[in-house]
Amino acid sequence: MARTSQRPAAANEVSALQAALAAEHAAVYGYGVVGAYLSGAALATATSDWVAHEVARDSLEAMLRSAGQAPVAASVAYRLPHRVHSSAGAMSLAVTLEDRVATAYLGVVAVTSPKIREFGARELLATATRAASWRGRTVAFPGFPAGAPAAARG
């Protein structure tokens, strides 16, 4: 990701980027668990997805630093949404991780800076693609937690 310009970032931009970074930290941690239960092609996919989250995390940290902000740090450990005992459980965890990341990027899309908005949209697209591959099907509204946007919003 190219450097963003040096300028004071709006508060909502910072909080959206920090939320995305926190989600990426969680995904990087979670994919470590995902990968532990997979083998073969699925493991290769998990590994490349893991790397993608590390790259996104690094981009977010760079964007926050260039805006004069301290990037939020990763936690030592994360509570997983569910226990993983099998490859099926691992894939379902991957879906959950991607969905949470997608929701965080939807917040980034809502900021007004065109560059940051575009970054959020690109990452939303990437995470939706990964989620669809783990889920085995597509969804109509990636990033919207309820599966669809709230009805009558402006």
């Binding site: 899309v109 575009e118 669809a132 099907r137 109509a140 990636p142 990033g143 669809a148």
Partner: protein, 213 residues
């Protein structure tokens, strides 16, 4: 009492003015000189709606033309219908204005085959209505709305060709939405980015569909 009457009159005048306040600020004709600037959202929303309508028409055409693909394509088409419904729900225009602009749009396109509901999709061998349960396609400009990519165009004959036709359409639709993101409100940007992401995932899903069945 005279003083009381006067005050009441003033209050009444104030009340009479109230409904106007929101519209004109009670400034009279001069206030009309500066109409509220039209939100870029509306034009972009209309284009996004037209693009979804064309996309659905393309899926309709491919589904009609290939029995083998129908089962795999229906879920994707259903997602496009969901996109269309969401986009339409963001467009709040008086019905009269909407139909007027639709008519104008249709009239501006000399080559449009506006007579039929799915006429723009055309060279499909089957003449079936093909609007099974479609979310009430509104007007004749629906299908012919996308001039950028030659409307629904001719659907290629072969199965692989039809799939790659849809893949190209999905890619182009997603790219168009992303390109317009900087101009819209945060809320619409979220919807457009999500729709674009969904369309991007359809590219891989279509590849899978091509491989099965």
């Amino acid at each position: 009492m005279a003083a009381d009457r006067t005050r009441r009159a003033v209050l009444a005048a104030g009340a009479a003015c109230l409904p106007m306040l929101a519209v004109s600020g009670c400034k009279g004709v001069g206030a009309l000189a500066a109409p509220p600037r039209p939100a870029p959202d509306v034009a972009i929303l209309r284009a996004a709606i037209a693009a979804e309508e064309v996309m659905i028409a393309r899926y309709d055409a491919v589904v009609r033309g290939s029995d083998g693909l129908a089962a795999a394509l229906r879920p994707l088409r259903a997602e496009h219908r969901a996109h269309l419904a969401q986009l339409r729900s963001r467009l709040i225009v008086p019905a009269a204005a909407a139909s007027r602009s639709a008519a104008a749009a249709a009239a501006s396109r000399s080559t449009t085959a506006a007579g039929g509901r799915s006429a723009g999709v055309s060279p499909s061998p089957s003449a079936a209505p093909g609007l099974d349960g479609a979310a009430g396609r509104g007007s004749g400009d629906a299908v012919s709305g996308d001039t950028r990519s030659g409307a629904a165009g001719a659907v290629p004959a072969g199965r692989a060709e039809a799939i790659s036709f849809l893949q190209d359409a999905e890619r182009a639709a997603a790219a168009t939405l992303l390109r317009k993101l900087p101009a819209v409100s945060p809320s619409l940007a979220q919807l457009m980015a999500s729709v674009a992401a969904s369309e991007a995932t359809h590219v891989a899903a279509l590849a899978t569909a091509a491989g099965t069945g």
